[in-house]
């Protein structure tokens, strides 16, 4: 199979089918279901990007809510109409206050600022071994929150930024989702991704082979943070609000659960887990309300995590990807080699 044909089959075809299904969904689904669909997409982006840091490189980061908050605020401030900015955000530099950025540029900027924050935090912390990163990223969530609360001239403090233009729609989410999956897939199946997995498997051996351990870790941390920042921007413009408490440690925990359930290192696994968990919490909500058992779904999820950790500690897929085309190609090769 030639390279362009493989690309068409593996990438363009699924993306095209996805777009067609999505178009059908926009025609047939009610607005509530479409919103849920967008949350599903955003959660897949978050879980898959967290999987770069936690799954590929084996770091334990809880920091996604912090990067989402950073990305969400940056995107929100940039897209806000200039008149509202000058009235509401008095400490904003005039160069930002005078202009209203297009959504794509704002999202990118949000992602880049989040990635920059990850680099700044990562350079000192990622030199240390062990679970320092978990503690440091936990602290980062609260640091970012208090910045958001205490810079009222830029963020409107605890009030948050409400009434954002509702520019996020299924197509934006789908675009970012495809870009996230494509980037993660390429990184994982490349020389670079292999060094990340090598660091996860045995750091000392990787270093002895000339892998730049500290730099690769910072890179994977920042790459995860970039997509978290973009997802934060999407989220903010979906609910048209961002406040210091929008993205809490609880969300960080749910994302960790998705990665652990799906398989640390498996892109498809994290994506599937994100879809299932987002939908099931949404569907269980009316049942909880009817039965008067609020929080039951969280207990079910937590028990599920414990069971997975006992019986399948590496998650449902481990590091592998369920490769339909690969299995097909293998069978054909096998058939050719045994006439």
């Amino acid at each position: 199979m030639s390279a362009p044909a493989a690309f068409l089959l593996r990438f363009a075809l699924p993306v095209g089918i996805g777009a067609a299904l999505l178009y059908a969904a926009t025609l047939s689904l009610d607005p509530y279901s479409l919103t849920i669909l967008q949350f599903v997409g955003i959660n897949v982006i978050l879980a898959v990007s967290l999987n770069i840091t936690n799954g590929f490189t084996g770091l334990f980061s809880l920091g996604h809510p912090a990067f989402m908050t950073i990305g969400g605020y940056v995107t929100a401030i940039l897209t806000m109409p200039a008149t509202r900015k000058t009235a509401m955000l008095r400490d904003l530099p005039s160069i930002l206050a005078a202009h209203e950025w297009p959504f794509a540029a704002s999202l990118t900027a949000g992602g880049l600022v989040a990635a920059l924050a990850a680099v700044i935090v990562g350079i000192p912390v990622l030199r240390l071994r062990g679970h320092y990163l978990a503690v440091a990223t936990l602290g980062l969530i609260f640091i970012v929150q208090s910045f958001a609360v205490n810079l009222p001239g830029i963020t409107r403090g605890a009030l948050g930024l409400a009434g954002l233009p509702p520019v996020t729609n299924v197509w934006w989410v789908y675009l970012v989702l495809v870009l996230t999956l494509l980037t993660c897939w390429r990184v994982k199946h490349s020389s670079l991704g292999r060094t990340m997995l090598a660091i996860r498997e045995n750091e000392l051996a990787a270093a002895s082979l000339g892998v730049k351990v500290a730099r690769t870790r910072v890179l994977s941390f920042a790459l995860g943070a970039f997509f978290a920042g973009v997802a934060g921007g999407l989220w903010a413009h979906l609910v048209t609000l961002i406040a210091p408490g929008s993205f809490s440690i609880l969300l960080g925990f749910q994302l960790i659960v998705m990665v652990v359930l799906g398989g640390t290192g498996s892109i498809a696994g994290a994506a599937i887990a994100a879809v299932v968990l987002t939908l099931s919490t949404e569907w269980l909500r009316p049942i909880e309300e009817a039965a008067g058992l609020f929080g039951a779904s969280q207990i079910i999820v937590a028990v599920g995590v414990i069971l997975v950790l006992i019986f399948r500690p590496s998650g449902l897929f481990g590091t592998a990807e369920p490769n339909v085309f690969g299995a097909f190609a293998r069978r054909r090769r096998h058939a050719q080699s045994t006439p």
């Binding site: 490349s190 020389s191 670079l192 292999r194 997995l197 045995n202 990787a206 002895s208 082979l209």
Partner: protein, 274 residues
């Protein structure tokens, strides 16, 4: 006697303290390009410590290490790897969850791996680099007779083959110096002999410079051109296998004082004694 060129690796007055314990106390040795040298000594003599200092995993307390004319004392392992040192580990350290060929490919990233942007943008150059890396890794696996197991998960391989994968991984990067830390640890005599033959063959065919830390005297005596013996952190002797075999201090370090009137014993007996 011919004038020898500047040595590839030179270790001078190397010393290491762990708290109050002096693990190494002034070790000197040198390797020329193309040498196959064994670093030997009884258990706890400081062989692996010396080895870890040379590769950069431990920092020396005193002394100087030069490699290819440059001072590499206290360098990080990745820096030394970039300069051309490649090593294996006494307790095998493979990337267990990865296939055999991927383990070898990791060692090729530093020299040939495409950058981040080329990878993410899916540039043609990245795909070509990836194909080259895979080809080179397969070629090295072929040298060690492992190409048939390239796609297997390395954690599932038998012990002897895992050792060979470690060799392949180290060899793939075309190192200037290959450092092997007790490659026969945990092997039976048959596997040991097989591995010794492999090391000798790599040295002969690829002309690669090798420093071998080893416990198994028989194997070392058979393949090394020169031996460095250390005992309790001190230099004990240095010379050809024949010289070392005849050196009474070495025999004593390994076996203690011989009984009066007992038969003359050589270091090979260590193997038999266990």
């Amino acid at each position: 006697m011919q004038i020898s060129p500047a040595p590839l690796l030179k270790v001078e007055r190397l010393a290491k303290n762990f708290g109050g314990v002096r693990a190494l106390n002034g070790i000197d040795f040198a390797l020329n390009e193309g040498d196959l040298v064994g670093l030997i000594g009884p258990n706890g003599s400081g062989k692996t410590t010396a080895f870890n200092i040379v590769t950069g995993i431990l920092k020396p307390s005193e002394g100087r290490i030069t490699f290819g004319g440059a001072d590499v004392t206290g360098n990080a392992p990745e820096t030394n790897a970039a300069l051309g040192m490649a090593r294996t580990f006494q307790n095998i350290r493979l990337f267990n969850d990865l296939p055999v060929v991927d383990n070898v490919m990791v060692g090729l990233h530093r020299k040939r791996g495409p950058g981040f942007l080329a990878t993410v943008l899916g540039l043609r150059a990245a795909a070509r680099a990836e194909a080259e890396i895979r080809q080179r890794a397969m070629a090295v696996l072929d040298i060690l007779g492992l190409s048939g197991r390239a796609a297997e998960r390395v954690g599932g391989l038998p012990y002897g083959d895992q050792r060979k994968v470690e060799f392949a991984r180290a060899l793939a990067s075309d190192p200037r110096l290959l450092l092997l830390d007790e490659p026969t640890a945990g092997m039976n005599p048959y596997e040991t002999a097989d591995l010794g033959a492999t090391i000798a063959r790599l040295h002969r065919e690829l002309g690669i410079t090798i420093l071998l830390v080893e416990h198994d005297m028989k194997m070392v005596m058979g393949i090394c051109q020169r031996l460095v013996v250390i005992n309790q952190g001190n230099m004990l002797a240095q010379g050809t296998p024949a010289e070392i075999r005849a050196d009474q201090r070495v025999v004593e370090a390994y076996l203690g004082h011989g009984r009066k009137g007992g038969r003359q014993r050589g270091p090979e007996d260590v193997h038999a004694v266990g």
